[in-house]
Symmetry: C2
Subunit: 516 residues, 2 copies
């Protein structure tokens, strides 16, 4: 069968214009997984990891570099020796038992609120990049306008369920006040769920206050509307900044990601199973602390997970051990009944080359099979998180849409009609004109828009453009088409007033604090 | 934690030279899977596909465009009407029951023979490309020397378990005699398993004769040493060329891949489950025929599987439905107890850009979870099979090595030692100098050699080279280091004599016949 023979529609300029006009920017509902997950550990092996983690918590203990936390732990009945907190397994189990297994993430457009946890999952763009590769593929420090553009794209990309927060670090605004502008940008340019800065306890309080303005203080108290990420310092340390920010979120009943920051082999043992045992102990210690702060408040089992090249010390991505550890950590999170965050389209490539594609797709597929609920860093990540690539941002988002489709599983609703078509067509025919095909072709097979599957002759006739340049053009088109979601004028003014007041109060100097 | 702080070894020129001198070219043993597979269908749904396929075979029937096959089927008790063979499900089940579930593939170096089927799997390079992207990244028609280079690389790449056959089509030799030179090249430049040309029944006979020279005629009769691929013409047609080649292989007890050639939506219904039902019927009809030819001869459930863009008619790769269908087909092959071939690192990109990376990695990961035994097209495939990329060839092979490592699953043998290291190091330390790290770092975490994970400053200092150029350099280095495996001089002479005789007998003209 010649491939050319089945072509029926040719894409010309007119067709491309029409496609732009009708681009689908409707957000996909929260993903509900229907494929079986990959669970490499037996119940016995899960119990072995659990026991090892509990041993670490009891015998080695975890350092909480924060007086308030140490005092909280003492009151909660932990064995506190200096900065080191030894946690009895009974206490840990009792505390984490009150973490909600599922909840709803509320967006300012209530149609974009998302069920979360168990078999529901959502995609969140990358965060924290100190550089971007921009619309001209130039690597430079980002501005507030660049950040706004990423929030605009997040708003328009169907598989993105969140506009996150500081996708890129806006260098054109004083660092000490940046969290206010970042939060406003997340709220203003997208009406999806978003994240909140945890760069200091006071910054986190500002985020809470702004959420109270956007959603109402009372609503906030009883509805998760924002997520904070709190990184641990592996091995087995939580610091004052993160713990203070955690308290700011938990006190207002807003979920935090409790994320050990693991560079496997450097800050964990050079081995898969012991690394998971340590990471699990670290996550449990912070998850337990969220419940000391406020019993019943939502919290998420998190991590940033890389392995380190023992040749160069560089963090790696897309490697088999990272995939295996993700599969294992998914099992542990489900064992404890806590929602779980992992990182999706990671990679270490310096440009948007084939390396970036392999690394990101491998990680994304492994995460799908692992069953992560909160799929973070799902668009734009490159260069080990040092830059966010605009080109990669839109390609990753399409990859997430494809992963979404795959996780939905097999449709059987037209099985008999499809078989009737086989009988109709018989040996040697083709299906292109058959009524079943005409009825089903739109939904039957995913058609990636950013991948070129044309013949080389067509591709050359269209300028021999590689995926990087095609995707940058897509970004330009989308930003041209962007329509800002309506924000109530009074709310907008209140947010701006709050920012103006706080910017008068906060001196325009501080230390950069990155949040992977 | 600063990433730079963990770097201990810097790679300079000296280090790279040393690495070349000690490059590991030892073939990995046959992969034995230890991860659970992803099985999206319930037993009931498997039965539903099976029943639908059997209905197709009984009621719609399959066209065998070949008088010998029709005569064979009549003798076997099938209901033959014209060219159309209606196969009773009882007959089909009886016939496929004699296909061996497992066997050993014999290589000319017996240490490279491979257990095959059930939970064993092997990687095979791409085949059939009419173009290559060469060492200078130029797209052109290949020569016999290009083919030899791909066989040399296959010989040296640890995760490649086969040198295949016509990885690229050598255009510098008359097409009617090409199969002889291709087969010789597979045999000569690598001592791994290989494949045999099926471009005509007579060509297949030549391959059998050459295998008899290489392995001995008697050995051949009782040991699988070569594989033929026989493509179907979906929907539901097998042609004379393929059936004749199939007979040549089966009569000598050599396995064939029975491969429906599916462009989902064009030659199957526009729907996942009915497509699998049709493909399954097609595969079963050919698998059954192998047992009519010679009861008990090995045979492999195959397919080439793409979905078609309903916008352009182009075949696509790496899409969610292809992944889902692979998962389903794996379940069907295991249901019938027949070894299963699928295609691994497919893609439609025109160059080795990020698109190629995403597509290939997605397909590879899905195949891993699907449990294919014979993972074909596992290196070099690009542009929907129109070219084999030298750069991509070595990167794909490294990806296969990573997939191999992942499929091996979790090691627990140093779990207690790793936990002892956690207790030793305690909160806030690092593991780089710990004895457990020094003992385990080499095997703990896979370190891809073709992916750059260094800082941007280091990468720039080394010339800012993207993965395409790095990989071409790797190919040049490997071809410089290549050592030809010893072939017995008498056998070599006998093979050359055979080729010389056949080239005198065969007129130097014929039609191009491609074999995906």
């Amino acid at each position: 069968m010649s491939v050319d023979a089945v072509g029926t529609v040719r894409r010309g300029r007119g067709a491309r214009r029409k496609q732009r006009e009708t681009r689908d920017v409707a957000m996909l509902p929260a993903l509900k997984r229907r494929l079986p997950l990959t669970e490499p550990m037996t119940a016995e092996q899960i119990a072995r990891i659990d026991a090892a983690s509990m041993d670490i918590l009891e015998n080695t203990g975890v350092v909480f570099r924060d007086d308030t936390a140490l005092e909280d732990w003492r009151r909660a009945g932990a064995d506190v020796r200096g900065e080191r907190v030894h946690l009895d397994r009974g206490l840990v189990r009792e505390l984490i038992a009150t973490i909600p297994e599922t909840f709803t993430y509320h967006a300012r457009d209530p149609r974009k609120s998302l069920p979360f946890g168990a078999d529901h999952a959502m995609f969140v763009p990358m965060t924290g990049a100190p550089y971007l590769r921009d619309l001209e593929d130039v690597r430079r420090n980002p501005t507030l306008e660049d950040l706004a553009n990423f929030h605009r794209l997040s708003h328009m990309l169907p598989a993105m369920h969140s506009s996150a927060h500081h996708i890129v670090e806006p260098y054109d605004h004083p660092i000490s006040q940046r969290h206010l502008r970042i939060t406003y940008s997340s709220m203003k340019y997208s009406d999806k769920t978003f994240m909140g800065m945890t760069t200091s306890p006071k910054n986190a309080e500002d985020v809470m206050d702004m959420c109270a303005i956007l959603f109402g203080a009372e609503f906030l108290e009883t509805h998760p509307v924002v997520t904070g990420n709190c990184n641990g310092n592996s091995p087995l340390v939580w610091d004052e900044t993160m713990l203070g920010a955690m308290r700011a979120f938990c006190r207002r009943n807003q979920p935090v990601l409790c994320s050990p920051f693991v560079l496997g082999g450097a800050n964990t043992p050079a081995s898969v199973a012991p690394t998971v045992a340590q990471l699990n102990a670290e996550a449990l210690s912070a998850l337990a602390y969220t419940q000391v702060i406020r019993q019943g408040c939502p919290a998420i089992y998190g991590h940033y997970l890389s392995t380190v090249s023992m040749k160069s010390g560089a963090p790696m991505a897309g490697t088999p051990e990272i995939s295996l550890m993700n599969l294992m950590i998914g099992q542990m999170a489900r064992f404890y009944g806590v929602p779980w965050r992992s990182s999706t389209t990671l990679g270490g490539a310096k440009t948007f080359d084939a390396q970036a594609g392999y690394e990101s797709a491998s990680t994304l597929m492994a995460l799908q099979m692992a069953g992560a609920n909160y799929m973070w860093h799902a668009a734009g990540w490159n260069e080990a998180g040092m830059h966010c690539s605009m080109a990669k941002f839109v390609v990753d988002a399409e990859q997430c849409a494809m992963a979404y489709r795959m996780a939905e599983g097999i449709r059987w609703d037209d099985f008999d009609e499809g078989l009737a078509a086989v009988a109709d067509i018989g040996p040697g025919g083709h299906y292109l004109g058959h009524p079943h095909t005409l009825e089903n072709f739109q939904r039957a097979f995913f058609m990636p828009e950013l991948f070129d599957n044309n013949s080389i002759e067509q591709w050359q006739a269209e300028g021999a453009v590689e995926v990087n340049e095609r995707s940058l053009q897509r970004c330009r088109d989308m930003l041209n088409e962007y329509e800002e979601p309506k924000l109530d004028a009074a709310v907008d003014e209140a947010l701006r007033d709050y920012i103006a007041r706080r910017e008068r109060e906060i001196p325009a100097a501080d230390a950069l604090n990155q949040d992977y």
